[in-house]
Subunit: 210 residues, 2 copies
């Protein structure tokens, strides 16, 4: 997509991308969106579960959520998704860094009210971290649907920024310190079943059980 | 600390805390702060490495960073730190959730210019993810110090919000689906040393090598 004045990356532009596929892939790999709106100049950043539904980022929660009410009301919105990939250890404090992939999406959100679209968005939200889970659990009742607000933010004004690899070259080669990268990733440990559960782990956990 | 009108948690207040120890512990366990400022009502959320130095959150980066220039200029600022602890699988879409610990800090930042305070902040930034690392690497040169901006945000107006445990009780006990929690945590895989490194892994990696 075209960078705008608001999404153009000035610091280390070589780490930036406006490629829709790159952006979508990061969004599909992330788990939490840090979403912000501002009231009288004061920004509020709230972590939210999210999903990508085609070219939209969808968020959901209780009708009473201020974040979602603000989003539905069309205020200027920002959603940032970050995946930490590693710690970068250099021989100097200065060159220590972190490997990461991040996406910033700007725009105004809209509420999804139409029943079919709302159900597709809620399905995407269940499936985002757990592909297949929507068919291993009960779809919402009318009461649950009415208690849930869903908003969508178009992924039209967005940028990605990533860092990978080891520390930058430096003049500290003679120093005795270890340098390199420690890869990091979010990993699952043994699932804890509810007391009344019988049967095997669901297929939707495959992504996390590798 | 005292909640303010801006930090009072309205949604699921039982998950909130204003306890300084709880807030500090989450800040000490997190890795990335999602920091925001607003320009003409549009918030921008940027992921930043951070550290806690006593009652302050410190951030650093290049002098040219817009985020740090805004922070140093005293604009209204928000920093949110989130740690994902698990996926919560329920028998209904509605009760799916995520376990997490998060902290929101509001306020205005100030630049740290005094040399001694700046070095202590930079040391804390190196040590945050890697305790002991400041003594396994070279402190900044004058040129590096001059190229780095450090800002501090007082942790005075802040709140924590956490979720833990399994899915909420529901009326879906007769459904055949697995329900429970999949614990998640950021974990390291085998470190990748730079080509010219000799010697063992540094002690500062102990936290990640367990």
């Amino acid at each position: 997509m075209q960078p705008t004045a608001r999404t153009t990356i000035h610091r280390k532009p070589q780490r930036g991308s406006y490629d829709r596929e790159v952006i979508h892939r990061i969004l599909d790999d992330g788990l939490v969106a840090h979403c912000a709106f501002a009231i009288e100049g004061q920004p509020y950043v709230i972590p939210m579960v999210y999903a990508r539904l085609d070219d939209q980022l969808v968020l959901h929660g209780a009708i009473a959520s201020r974040m979602l009410a603000q989003g539905a009301g069309g205020v200027a919105f920002c959603a940032t998704i970050t995946i930490v990939d590693g710690l970068v250890l250099a021989r100097s404090w200065f060159h220590h860094s972190m490997n990461y992939r991040s996406v910033v999406v700007l725009g105004t959100a809209r509420e999804i009210s139409e029943r079919g679209e709302k159900l597709r968005a809620l399905e995407a939200l269940v499936e985002h971290a757990l592909p297949g889970r929507a068919h291993e659990s009960r779809a919402p009742s009318e009461k649950e649907l009415a208690a849930t607000r869903v908003i969508a933010l178009s992924i039209d004004e967005a940028s990605a920024k990533c860092r990978e690899g080891g520390p930058l070259p430096d003049d500290d080669g003679e120093l005795p310190w270890w340098s390199g990268v420690v890869p990091l990733a979010l990993r699952a440990s043994a699932p804890v079943a509810d007391a009344d559960v019988r049967g095997p782990l669901p297929a939707s956990l495959a992504r996390w059980m590798r």
